[in-house]
């Protein structure tokens, strides 16, 4: 098994270089003030921490949490019944067609799908032909609709995977023991599907809060989320210190989630 002995350490080194070292660098940058990535004039201070509690950014934090939460919640409310319905299809062909219908949109470019919504939400859109003007650009509703539309499949599939794995005998046992359909759903199926829900929320909440192109297009730049803050600090103002601090906070949240999910999901097959 010599080959394996080489590739694994190499992979670990590769991950350390591309995951751990950037994290450590950003951690250092959080406490520092630099000229972009020029470390020669580095000076350490806590200004970034002062900046992070500047009320100017509170809107962005609140929007990130509220809008992404709403989007994830709507995704969950839609995805759970959808996933449950798909598992119940007896006809395999029909089941596959429905599954395909939910996979297919992911093969259409994400930015273009957002532009699709954008053209529809503009005051002047093709809907004017039907005397309708949605005029939603700039509203939180537009952003939430965009988020749900983009990330719904990422909620459906983890839940579907878990539901599909539930042993039918368990459900039959529940009926045999006298439980009604609703009781079975609430007491048996739902608790068993929790890991799928956790992973679905992770796959929708964080991307919603950190995708900068989506709010940029659907709110015409009026609504900023965490992703927009990070993007503008790294891409426009080159304030790497503040951008790093925000990223480090995000990574910490994700670290905790990763540990949580790894514990719940030993095979790691819920992340797909």
């Amino acid at each position: 098994m010599k080959k394996h002995n080489i590739i694994l350490p190499l992979y670990i080194i590769w991950l350390i270089i591309l995951v751990l070292i950037p994290f450590i660098l950003m951690l250092i940058l959080s406490f520092a003030h630099t000229d972009g990535l020029d470390f020669s004039n580095i000076s350490f201070s806590l200004t970034n921490f002062k900046e992070i509690i500047d009320p100017v950014y509170f809107d962005a934090y609140a929007n990130s949490i509220i809008l992404s939460f709403l989007a994830s919640l709507i995704c969950l409310l839609l995805a759970y019944p959808i996933a449950l319905t798909i598992t119940k299809f007896k006809n395999n062909k029909l089941k596959n067609i429905i599954l395909i219908m939910f996979i297919l949109p992911m093969w259409s470019n994400m930015l273009l799908r957002i532009i699709g919504w954008e053209t529809l939400f503009q005051p002047n859109s093709i809907l004017n032909y039907f005397d309708i003007s949605l005029n939603l650009i700039g509203s939180p509703i537009a952003v939430v609709i965009g988020m749900v539309s983009t990330y719904l499949p990422f909620m459906i599939f983890p839940i579907y995977t878990v539901l599909n794995k539930i042993d039918p005998a368990v459900i039959e046992a529940s009926y045999d023991l006298g439980a009604t359909k609703t009781q079975t759903l609430r007491r048996v199926i739902f608790p068993l599907s929790l890991p799928g829900i956790y992973s679905g929320i992770t796959m929708t909440f964080l991307p919603s809060a950190t995708n900068f192109a989506l709010p940029e297009r659907l709110s015409a730049g009026k609504i900023n989320l965490l992703g927009n803050l990070i993007n503008s600090n790294f891409g426009k103002t080159f304030d790497y210190g503040f951008g790093s601090l925000l990223s480090v906070i995000l990574i910490t949240i994700i670290f905790i989630l990763t540990i949580f999910i790894n514990r719940k999901d030993k095979d790691g097959d819920l992340l797909l």
Binding site: M1, I16, I97, L99, L112, I115, T119, I126, I254
Partner: protein
């Protein structure tokens, strides 16, 4: 009865939410007017412009070449990494799995920024090479994760039996292990390809020198006159094409095929 009506309604809402933007893009791809709010006749001109707009066409080619290269490299590496992780001591496994899962769970923008920082410090020239490297980086974990559960199901003695019967190490892997995990490999490759070809944020942070894939090409041209609706046309071809392929795979030759069911 009400419950059935409700689930049907939810199914329809879900499908509408996913398909409205795609249908709009298709509509725009046939729109003679370049302004998205007016429709003045059908045209196929955007479909021919996919090939005549050089910057768009090269962005499309870049998307495909990066996705194909990244998928092939990530799949081959992923197989051997998964084999190694499967055989490693339980003690260190959580650490490796933790590092492996980070790129999947991490926000794209954080991954993009991380890579940008490390590539800058390593002195890389941003462009085709850095983008490919980034794509390989985020594709490998998906391949590893789809192969590991299949490896677990595989009988550990199969490899040893193959070796006892005279196979070399590589022969045993090629003839015994790979066929056993074939579905995992295909799923992983498919997910890797899907992630790579549609990627925007990570590509945005790891490209440079005018090298763009389809997504970064669109982003840099939004609201500009250089934006060409041929992008809508290309996207519509991809949507219809993938629909036909998926239907062919699932219904045409293998009814009840389980390949794409997972994600």
């Amino acid at each position: 009865m009400i419950k059935k009506f409700l689930t049907t309604l939810i199914l329809i809402i879900g499908i509408l939410l996913l398909y409205i933007p795609i249908l709009i893009i298709m509509l725009l791809s046939f729109n003679n007017s370049q302004r998205p709010y007016e429709f003045n006749g059908l045209t196929f001109k955007w479909y021919t412009q996919i090939f005549s707009d050089n910057s768009l066409f090269s962005a499309i080619i870049n998307s495909w070449s990066i996705a194909i290269c990244a998928t092939i490299i990530a799949t081959i590496l992923g197989i051997f990494i998964a084999l190694a992780i499967n055989r490693m001591k339980q003690k260190y496994k959580p650490f490796v799995m933790f590092l492996n899962n980070m790129p999947i769970l991490n926000a794209d923008i954080v991954t993009g920024v991380s890579l940008m920082i490390i590539f800058t410090l390593l002195g890389f020239t941003f462009g085709r090479f850095t983008m490919l490297l980034a794509h390989i980086f985020f594709c490998i974990p998906f391949v590893v994760l789809s192969i590991l559960p299949r490896l677990k199901q595989l009988d550990n003695n199969a490899y040893d039996a193959a070796r006892d019967l005279g196979c070399t190490h590589m022969q045993a892997i090629r003839k015994v292990i790979i066929p056993g995990i074939k579905i995992g490999i295909l799923t992983g490759a498919l997910i890797a390809f899907t992630m790579s070809i549609d990627d925007f944020i990570i590509s945005y942070y790891t490209t440079g020198e005018g090298f763009s894939n389809f997504s970064t090409w669109i982003y840099s041209r939004l609201n500009r006159r250089t934006f060409n609706p041929a992008a809508y046309a290309y996207n519509s071809i991809i949507t219809i094409g993938s629909l036909l392929i998926l239907i062919y795979i699932n219904i045409g030759i293998r009814p009840g095929g389980k390949k794409i069911e997972k994600n």
